[in-house]
């Protein structure tokens, strides 16, 4: 039997019980949480998709607007989770003119939407709207995760509209065994899933994400949360810290389980053409009869990835830089995981400032 000193054992038990009771108390009085609080206005809608324009915080933003394209899985507001953990706010504070696509929640009627619809319809219409509103000839695309994959496709098919392409934790070379999703997707029968569901339930995909590290995300995460609760002292400072800890935790919980369903045909195509046949990196991906040739990408490229990303490993992202024809291209690897890129301490401290700086240097003269 392992050795536990009796007095320590009791102290630890009592302390844990106190924390558990305090946590229960805090959850009973849990405040309302808000996400995506940076002020914005809806400037365009099409079906479920909305284009949001964040209200600039400087008098004269940089002339080249930035369009953020997030994944269809989970919601875009992870990039603006709370004011002190907001990629969007950082870009705005630095004088950039920021737009974002909210894909909404697809329903039964959207089951036949394909990747072509997302890339050549929704993204293209958003880009057109931004060009119209801003007067800019070109926009910067900032694609995140699967949204990055779509942004790569878009930049290849419409290079004349794109000033800069920034991708973050974006898979382009799917033929790797480093990430569990890549391993599992190879054997998955996407036809059966789509034929059975039509619209693929977000919860089904979420189960897959949770399975990538089940003990950490289903148990340890909650233990760490409990540890953060201060059980001693009813003073104002402890109360404020505990309330903040609960709010921060609940915001992440909300985001993780806020999983939109997926348009079936898009899902089928993404699994088969990307994960299984790996067509994108081979320049063999076809959208609406047009070949997605990565050599068409000649604009400046920034490719950002996380060293410990277990969902999109570096091996899946890095090959993009060799596949494009851009001469101004850069890779940035940060010592963090997939989610840490958007909300971790390193995100605000290291990741956001570097992306912002890269974009600003290529977004024209702010004073022109």
């Amino acid at each position: 039997m392992f050795r536990i000193v009796t007095t320590m054992e009791f102290t630890e038990l009592i302390e844990n019980n106190k924390k558990a009771m305090r946590m229960l108390d805090l959850l009973l009085k849990a405040p309302e949480i808000s996400v995506g609080m940076t002020p914005s206005e809806v400037v365009y809608t099409q079906d479920d998709m909305r284009l949001l324009h964040y209200i600039p915080v400087v008098k004269k933003p940089y002339p080249v607007p930035v369009l953020i394209v997030y994944a269809l899985v989970n919601r875009y507001y992870i990039l603006d989770l709370q004011p002190d953990k907001s990629v969007v706010k950082k870009l705005l504070d630095d004088g950039l003119d920021v737009y974002i696509i909210d894909w909404g929640y697809p329903s039964g009627i959207d089951r036949y939407l394909t990747i072509d619809d997302y890339v050549n319809e929704y993204i293209d219409n958003a880009v057109e709207k931004i060009r119209e509103l801003s007067g800019a000839e070109k926009v910067s695309l900032f694609g995140v995760c699967q949204g990055g994959t779509f942004s790569v496709m878009y930049s290849s098919l419409h290079p004349e509209k794109i000033q800069n392409l920034a991708t973050m934790v974006t898979p382009v070379d799917f033929d790797t065994d480093e990430g569990l999703l890549h391993v599992w997707a190879k054997s998955l029968d996407a036809d059966r899933i789509v034929d059975a569901y039509g619209i693929v339930p977000g919860n089904l995909l979420n189960t897959g994400f949770l399975l990538t590290d089940p003990f950490r995300v289903l148990i340890d995460k909650y233990v760490i949360f409990l540890e953060k609760i201060e059980s001693n002292g009813d003073d104002e400072d402890s109360g404020r810290k505990n309330e903040e800890a609960v709010k921060n935790f609940l915001r992440m919980e909300k985001w993780i389980f806020d999983s939109p369903d997926q348009a079936g045909e898009m899902y089928r195509q993404f699994i088969k053409d990307c994960y299984q046949k790996n067509l994108l990196i081979k320049n063999e991906m076809m959208l609406d009869g047009k070949r997605v040739d990565l050599k068409n990408i000649t604009m400046p490229l920034l490719n950002v990835m996380g060293e410990y990303d277990h969902l999109v490993p570096i091996a899946a992202s890095k090959p993009l830089n060799d596949a494009v024809a851009s001469t101004d291209k850069e890779v940035m690897v940060f010592p963090t995981g997939h989610i840490g890129m958007f909300v971790g301490g390193k995100s605000q401290r290291d990741v956001c400032p570097k992306i912002s700086s890269w974009l600003r240097a290529r977004s024209g003269d702010q004073n022109s």
Binding site: F2, R3, I4, V5, M8, E9, E12, L13, N16, G108, I109, D110, R111, Y112, L113, E121, D177, L180, V183, W184, K186, S187, L188, D189, R192, I193, D195, A196, Y197, G198, L211, T212, D213, P214, F215, R216, I219, D220, V223
Partner: protein, 184 residues
Amino acid sequence: MNMESSDLQASHDFFEHWLKAYEATCGRIIDMPILGPSREGADKLRKNFEATINMHAAWAQSLANYQSAFMEASQKTQEEVEKRIAGGVSPSSYKGYYDLWMETYSKTFKEFLKSRFFASDLARLTSNSMDFQKSSRVLIEENFLRPANLPTRTELDDLSKEVYLLKKQVKELVRGQGKSATRK
């Protein structure tokens, strides 16, 4: 841990035997062609029963595989505790033991989940679950919704497709109009 090897052979063998026995006995009766006026409805029920059996067999096999991984993780945790006790550095608190447990279980399951064996098992379970889902839908539509004169999911899908294709046509027409207006 080598998940490709025969570690889980016992659980596989058990389910193989069970399925063979089922197919040789009850399964034969279920497979028998149905006669009479209720043939079509009953046939869908039979197919759904078959899909249910397949899904449960795949589910049971997956559970057995998870169980094997749990057993291995428990064994490794125990071995690590013994090793630490022998070295005089055993966990001195519940948290210390929890950390050791978490680390060992996470590592063991990571190997298990990364194996090709697990990937094919997951694919099989997913496919069987999808077959069950689809067959249940057909069963409900044919035996309940249609007789009750209620709309079915299949009909809604047909409508969705029609709407999708019409929208595409409209967009192409609008684009074509834009182009001809520009030419003028």
